[in-house]
């Protein structure tokens, strides 16, 4: 439990750092005058920063509460290490990966008749996903 407490303290620190970075970036996006062509990209990044900010604050609240109360810390530990939840996460990951790759492949086939740039982008995405999956498969095969 002491080890888990240290992990939660580290996470709290990382979240606080991330929130600080997001606040700085958000201020920069407002203050620095960017060209109109970059507007969509900047708006997207600003949205991500705000999302991270809210999620980070929720996380800090949850972890700070757990660090003050042993029972809450134990409950948090159980929730994170529950074997059934871990199994569900694994199954979700496996099923989602296969579904996403197959869906992208079908969409790629359809887009080939409409826009070559979109088709090439989708092909790169599919190869990227498969390559990352292969790397993780090799890593976990060696680990276990």
């Amino acid at each position: 439990m002491e080890e888990f407490k240290r992990i939660i303290q580290k996470r709290n620190l990382i979240l606080k750092g991330s929130i600080l970075v997001c606040i700085i970036l958000s201020i920069m996006f407002y203050v620095i005058p960017f060209e109109k062509t970059y507007e969509i990209g900047i708006s997207f990044q600003l949205g991500i920063c705000i999302g991270i900010l809210f999620l980070g604050l929720l996380g800090i609240y949850k972890y700070s509460k757990a660090l003050k109360d042993e029972q809450m810390l134990k409950k948090l530990y159980i929730e994170e290490h529950d074997e059934r939840k871990m199994m569900i996460k694994q199954k979700v990951g496996q099923s989602s990966l296969i579904t996403i790759v197959l869906s992208l492949a079908i969409i790629t086939c359809v887009s080939a008749y409409m826009n070559m740039l979109v088709t090439k982008t989708l092909i790169c995405v599919i190869y990227g996903i498969l390559f990352i999956t292969l790397i993780f498969k090799i890593y976990y095969s060696k680990k276990y």
């Binding site: 134990k74 059934r84 199994m87």
Partner: protein, 69 residues
């Protein structure tokens, strides 16, 4: 896999929450075990059996498991 967790819990007047906390899982896991929707790992099965002071075979029914005679 069939289990006697529900019967043992009721016989000992223990709630699902208490059992879950004692063996280090969530209440949903205990519910799934009792409904025979989830098969416990070896470690969890041992923890549950030890909690009731019984052997694993007394808590979990292996008669339907393939390859076991």
């Amino acid at each position: 896999m069939k289990t006697k967790i529900k019967e043992l819990r009721k016989a000992n007047k223990i709630s699902q929450d208490e059992l879950a906390l004692a063996v280090g899982v969530t209440r949903q896991t205990i519910i799934s075990l009792e409904k025979e929707k989830y098969v416990a790992s070896l470690v969890l099965a041992y923890k549950i059996a030890k909690y009731f002071d019984l052997s694993i075979e007394d808590v979990f029914d292996f008669s339907d498991v393939e390859g076991i005679q």
